[in-house]
């Protein structure tokens, strides 16, 4: 099983403010990402064969996600359910890793929101994480990760890249555990 898992790479992408906010609220999508981050993000997505989002993220970006191979995590189904172009999936009832292996996906991209990011870090599936830190402070809003409880998950910084003159920072981490 570990051998099979090792061929699959789960990658998460997060764009956040310095204070770790990813959105004003769950109904408003990010309109403040820099042009440079948007270019990086769109290019990076081309490398992936499946995209995982939560229900709010799906609703905020439905038109674009409907054109991709998208899985929407939701608590509203038990068994996986295809609705239109996307698959609704409840990871509390079905093994998401088994699903990925069965369908021979190799490069899942995790696009948020906080509970979906939280699921992948808590389940130990997350392999790498790209964080774009925009040079803003919002002081309120939706936080990056939402897990079940405070816990120290160890990551390792691979590299940093300054994307523009204002200091948008792109950080690549791998999951150390």
């Amino acid at each position: 099983m570990l051998e099979h898992k090792s061929k699959i790479k789960f990658t998460a992408y997060v764009a956040a403010s310095i204070d770790g906010v990813i959105a004003q609220n769950s109904k408003i999508s990010n309109t403040w990402a820099s042009k440079e981050d948007t270019i990086f993000f769109q290019r990076a997505l081309k490398e992936h064969d499946i995209f995982i989002v939560g229900h709010s993220t799906y609703k905020n970006a439905k038109a674009r996600l409907d054109k991709r191979n998208t899985v929407v995590f939701t608590s509203k189904v038990k068994a996986p359910k295809k609705v239109g172009p996307v698959l609704f999936f409840n990871p509390a009832y079905s093994s998401f890793l088994a699903f990925i292996k069965k369908n021979k996906y190799k490069k899942p991209a995790i696009l948020g929101g906080p509970r979906v990011y939280g699921y992948f870090i808590e389940s130990g599936l997350l392999n790498e994480l790209f964080i774009t830190l925009e040079p803003y402070i919002f002081t309120n809003g939706v936080q990056m990760f939402k897990g079940k409880a405070f816990k120290k998950h160890n990551l390792k910084l691979v590299w940093t890249k300054k994307l523009n003159k204002n200091g948008t920072l792109l950080l690549k981490y791998t999951h150390a555990s």
Copy 2:
């Protein structure tokens, strides 16, 4: 007034996880900062002439803060009140900038927590910000900044420094407005 203000530099220090968490809860002080961050922080504090904290931060670090020139922000006093070695101050009732100018302080250090950081960014007083990003994800806990409402405050990245091999990052920002 602007001329006087320009001689004073307000500097905030924050140590956080990648997901913007600064503590498990307001009663537990940070025990996960790297040795390298602790060394940076203790050296940096020597440059300052006054230290501003909130009530929880004060209680968590009372022994050390009682030896410094410390102001504790609190809603429990109206007029500034000296209690033992520290001054309790309510910025809703008294001008903190007027207090700093009257006492000829030049280098205030803002040490948290979230509402104190929030006050300084919202009031426009904050000049520079040092953020140490430890390579952890906590998924829950106390967030870096707490302001009145979601608002985009612009900062500018001055430099980044990798403090150790795990990738603890020290980021220096200036307030762009």
